[in-house]
């Protein structure tokens, strides 16, 4: 059954033949009537209507219980007693325009009505009417109001009931303090709630609120509960985890039944026996703390799992249960508890529901029949699934349908629009309004709404503004044409630069798809939060080499410049400046910072002079001298001079170092044999080689006695070894020492490709603070192992 229905019944007998005149030549031709005992939200609705009609026409519209005008808006007069939340009517009748829905008696404030009060039908009707007049609110800071000195209203007969009853995303009570650009959009949080209400409000408080309620019960602090450790999850490591329960322990059903009974019977948490419960009850909302705030629902949901704890108990009883009830995860095991709790609740509180998330470790459909009082929220990848192979989109839709059929209720979803979660992929702008529209249309038959988890992109709202707006608009009415919505958004937010803004965001959407295509295998699952299996540096780095390339960013820069030019001196200039400051410049600066070192590193590449065979003295004389410099970034003092030369015959690298040392007799060197791993306590000269192909860093350490050793490092491990073919001879003079080193190139570059290099010196002389010098000005002390700072050595 369609939940959204829009009736435009044209009946000549009922409706006016001629449009109603609202304003003419900047003068009001209509009044706004409210009942004498109008509810606060009804008054607000009328006020909003008067305000925006005034902004449109330039006329002054008055709100009252009487009117001298022939044409009148009548707000909140109709009978809406059987209406659902957010259901409303907009209807022309004679000379009247009736707008009404079921309105709350509560005093109005933006916070309350955003979070807790769904009964605001008249307000919703007014916003729909204003939307029909072309008014748009792209974000809390800007609105688009078309100017019409003459305003006529055609016949209207709309009664709307929403497909979706719950929509939520991240802008919330801490929006202003949590986002870098929050204050640019709103000085007070009420303005944010106002915006969200205007673009489509859906209360989530009464419908599967919260998550991981096990933790919230505070059992981990309850001495009585903890007195029997077998009630707690047994981890891989044989340890009991007090924030997780063993879901096959007989007491787990009892404790949840106790909680459900206590909550639905109206007892306080203390009266119900949960004195250690986390948090305080929100005043006027619930007698229990969050997430136990839905009057008709109680959430029974396990604690969240982490990267090191999958939340699954490994006790013998749980293992046996898994053997007896084979299942991919712990769906059967956990549902066994939830079903028993729900059966209890169904008998004692037949009109109440037990809720839970479909989330790891219980993501499957339970094989057992569920009691009728079960509701679930399914955690899914969400609209980004559109970038993965089509089968994943189909699988998500099928999953929603399956749960709908299993529970008999439309299922709300929890989807993830936060690929930078956990710093997984910072700077990649996650924007795909078209995928959002497609997803919303896809789920409408089986789902009751979405909580879209959106992270503020690098702490900024600006880049996620569009997707939040489109999500809400499409959830409000999935029949909307997303292309038209986008055009409206850009026109409203960027005025004369709408076309460039549309291209700019279109480019970003393409770049998102491009990066996905290049870094996620074609058949790979989209992942719940991110599609990348490893959140490694290489993947993050590839953003700048594969997708956010200089060329692509230049294209975006050109568009931003065009936008700046077109909006100069207009109210839209500010919006463009926010786009530049909190989005484009953030990307460009991140790239610059990353590539500044890389550019400097590339610039300092050194080409080794070639010789035929072992270099002769004449070759050494011709070879350029490479000097060592102070390596301590905080010391400005000069170091004792040291220099070296490099030569190569293509097979070997030859290095001759001349190191001034006025106190050679006090050298700390003690190793005369090569291979010691303590050699770096000696007076040393060191060579660093990084082989890019196999990500291997070789550190060769030579002392003034001619002994040497090498530390070869790869990812997290290291190995001391004598690299084959390396030879060294040391000579001491009165105030210096020198080294002649031969290194087979294959020993430090086994797979060929790029070789990075640095030479350093550590003067370890008795009675003197160790002194460090380096050849590369990039690889200073503390960064010697940082291969992103080692210059490339070119051996032709």
């Amino acid at each position: 059954m369609k939940k959204i229905f829009l009736l435009l019944a044209l009946s000549a007998a009922v409706l006016n033949a001629a449009p109603l005149k609202i304003a003419e030549n900047g003068k009001a031709c209509a009044g706004i009537l409210i009942p004498a005992d109008a509810k606060p939200v009804t008054r607000l609705a009328a006020g909003e209507l008067a305000d925006y009609l005034g902004k449109m026409t330039g006329a002054k519209f008055t709100v009252g219980t009487q009117s001298t005008h022939k044409v009148n808006f009548r707000i909140g007069f109709g009978d809406a007693s059987d209406f659902q939340p957010n259901e409303y009517v907009i209807r022309t009748s004679g000379n009247n325009i009736e707008i009404y829905g079921r309105d709350s008696e509560k005093p109005f404030n933006w916070f309350e009505f955003y979070h807790h009060v769904p009964w605001q039908g008249s307000l919703r009707g007014v916003y729909e009417f204003l939307d029909l007049q072309g008014i748009r609110w792209p974000n809390p800071a800007i609105e688009y109001v078309p100017k019409k000195k003459d305003l006529m209203v055609d016949d209207l007969d709309i009664r709307r009931k929403f497909d979706f009853i719950t929509v939520k995303d991240s802008p919330t009570w801490d929006f202003i303090v949590k986002t870098k650009d929050g204050k640019e959009y709103a000085k007070k949080i009420d303005k944010v709630y106002q915006w969200l209400l205007r673009i489509g409000f859906f209360s989530d408080r009464f419908h599967l609120y919260g998550c991981h309620s096990e933790f919230r019960l505070g059992l981990y602090k309850d001495p009585e509960w903890l007195s029997d450790p077998t009630r707690l999850m047994l981890g891989f490591d044989g340890k009991r985890y007090n924030r997780y329960s063993c879901w096959t322990h007989p007491d787990i059903v009892k404790i949840w039944i106790k909680a459900v009974d206590g909550y639905f019977s109206g007892k306080s948490t203390v009266e119900a026996g949960f004195r250690y419960i986390d948090g305080k009850p929100p005043k006027g909302i619930s007698h229990w703390p969050y997430p136990f705030v839905c009057p008709d629902e109680f959430m029974v949901d396990p604690m969240d799992n982490t990267s090191t704890n999958d939340g699954r108990c490994r006790c013998d009883r749980c293992n046996q249960y898994r053997k007896d009830h084979p299942c991919e995860d712990d769906t059967e095991l956990i549902w066994n508890v939830i079903i028993k709790v729900a059966e209890f609740a169904h008998k004692k509180y037949p009109d109440k529901f037990i809720t839970t998330l479909v989330y790891p470790p219980k993501q499957q459909l339970p094989k057992r029949k569920l009691p009728p009082n079960i509701k679930v929220r399914i955690c899914l990848s969400g609209p980004k699934v559109g970038f993965a192979a089509p089968k994943y989109f189909e699988a998500e839709m099928k999953k929603i349908e399956d749960w709908y059929k299993l529970t008999g209720n439309k299922v709300p979803l929890w989807v993830y629009h936060c690929i930078d979660f956990g710093n997984a992929m910072p700077y990649l702008v996650e924007t795909y309004p078209r995928q959002i529209a497609r997803y919303v249309k896809g789920i409408r038959k089986w789902s009751s709404g979405i909580y879209m988890e959106t992270n503020a992109w690098n702490g900024c709202f600006t880049p996620i503004n569009l997707d939040i707006y489109i999500n809400r608009r499409m959830m409000n009415n999935p029949d909307r044409d997303v292309e038209k919505e986008l055009k409206d958004f850009f026109k409203a937010a960027y005025g004369p630069a709408a076309s460039e803004a549309e291209k700019f965001f279109g480019e970003l959407e393409k770049l998102f798809a491009d990066f996905w295509k290049k870094t996620v295998p074609a058949d790979a699952a989209p992942g719940l939060v991110v599609p990348w299996e490893r959140k490694g540096y290489e993947t993050k780095y590839s953003l700048w080499t594969l997708t956010y390339t200089e060329e692509n960013l230049q294209k975006l820069e050109n568009l931003v410049r065009q936008m700046e030019k077109k909006t100069a001196g207009t109210i839209y200039a500010r919006q463009v400046s926010l786009l530049r400051k909190y989005m484009f410049d953030e990307i460009v600066n991140a790239r610059k910072q990353l590539f500044a070192d890389e550019a400097a590193r590339k610039k300092s590449a050194y080409t080794v002079p070639m010789v035929k065979g072992v270099p002769a003295e004449t070759d050494w004389e011709k070879a350029p001298v490479l000097n060592l410099r102070q390596a301590d970034r905080f010391l400005k003092t000069a170091v004792v001079p040291g220099q070296f030369r490099l030569l190569s015959d293509g097979k070997n690298l030859y290095c001759r170092a001349e190191l001034t040392e006025p106190a050679l007799d006090r050298s700390k060197s003690s190793h005369t044999r090569s291979g010691s791993r303590d050699i770096w306590h000696d007076n040393t000269f060191e060579l660093f080689f990084y082989s890019v192909a196999d990500r291997r860093l070789s550190q060769l350490i030579f002392n003034d006695l001619g002994a040497w050793s090498a530390l070869v490092m790869r990812r997290g491990s290291e190995e001391w070894k004598l690299l084959p073919g390396v030879t060294v001879s040391a000579r001491k003079k009165t105030d210096s020492w020198s080294l002649d080193i031969t290194i087979p190139i294959a020993a430090v570059l086994p797979e060929g490709g790029e070789l990075r290099f640095n030479a350093t010196r550590e003067r370890n002389i008795k009675g003197i603070t160790p002194e460090f010098s380096t050849w590369s000005g990039l690889a200073l002390l503390g960064e010697w192992h940082n291969y992103y700072k080692l210059p490339t050595l070119i051996i032709r």
Binding site: G238, T308, G459, G536, D678, R715, G716, G782, Y787
Partner: protein, 226 residues
């Protein structure tokens, strides 16, 4: 006869495999641990470690294994164990960072080979990590300890100050970061900056959601504002 021998052989093999199953070893390890039999517990945990089904399971055993090695004062064995584990390619970057941190710690407290500790920590730094997490913080905390011990206060500040920009840094880690920066400024003779960081530390210490001792910050503030 051949068949009987095969059957007997298979039975013996099955029985020995069963005795060496991962859950069984875990059970025995846990029991020995609870009974205070550290040597036996370590033996079973080591077996469980070898039999663990995947890297995640192996990784989850590491803290208790490290604790037992330390308790038994088997520093050399622990060193060898950590070095071996770090060669295991199946560990992810975060797990590897943990191992490097632990290994470095052996050389930081007590100071055995600070140069080696520094190398391990620099290797840890090169691994990608979620900024602000405990393992990420730990690398820098250890680096700061090393530099502080060497009286290289500028380096302590150089490494630790950027951590404060990480919104995800736990208040207790923020407290520790501010304290070591504050002490470094104090050692440099910069009382104004020292006081600033001690105050920031106190603020962070008060935000720790559990009982937390921030009296040291209070003591420093008191001393500097007399």
């Amino acid at each position: 006869m051949m068949k009987i021998s095969l059957i007997v052989l298979c039975s013996v093999l099955t029985a020995s495999l069963w005795a060496q199953s991962y859950p069984e070893e875990l059970r025995q390890a846990s029991a020995a641990y609870k009974a205070g039999k550290s040597e036996l517990a370590l033996e079973h945990y080591s077996k469980a470690h070898r039999l663990a089904p995947d890297a995640k399971a192996r990784f989850s055993l590491l803290p208790v294994q490290i604790t037992l090695y330390m308790k038994l004062k088997k520093a050399a064995e622990l060193e060898a164990f950590l070095a071996k584990e770090r060669r295991d390619e199946s560990y992810n970057d975060m797990q590897l960072r943990y191992l490097l941190n632990r290994h470095a710690m052996l050389h930081v407290w007590p100071k055995r080979d600070t140069r080696y500790a520094m190398t391990l920590l620099q290797m840890a730094r090169m691994l990608p990590a979620e900024k602000g997490t405990n393992f990420y913080f730990e690398t820098y905390q250890l680096l700061a300890d090393l530099y502080y011990g060497q009286k290289k206060y500028d380096y302590v500040i150089y490494y630790m100050e950027p951590l404060l920009k990480e919104p995800k840094l736990h208040p207790s880690n923020r407290y520790k970061t501010c304290m070591v920066i504050g002490r470094s400024y104090l050692a440099k003779g910069d009382k104004a900056n020292a006081l600033k960081y001690f105050r920031e530390a106190l603020e962070a210490g008060k935000k720790v959601p559990y009982k937390y001792n921030y009296s040291e910050a209070e003591k420093y503030i008191k001393g500097l504002t007399k």
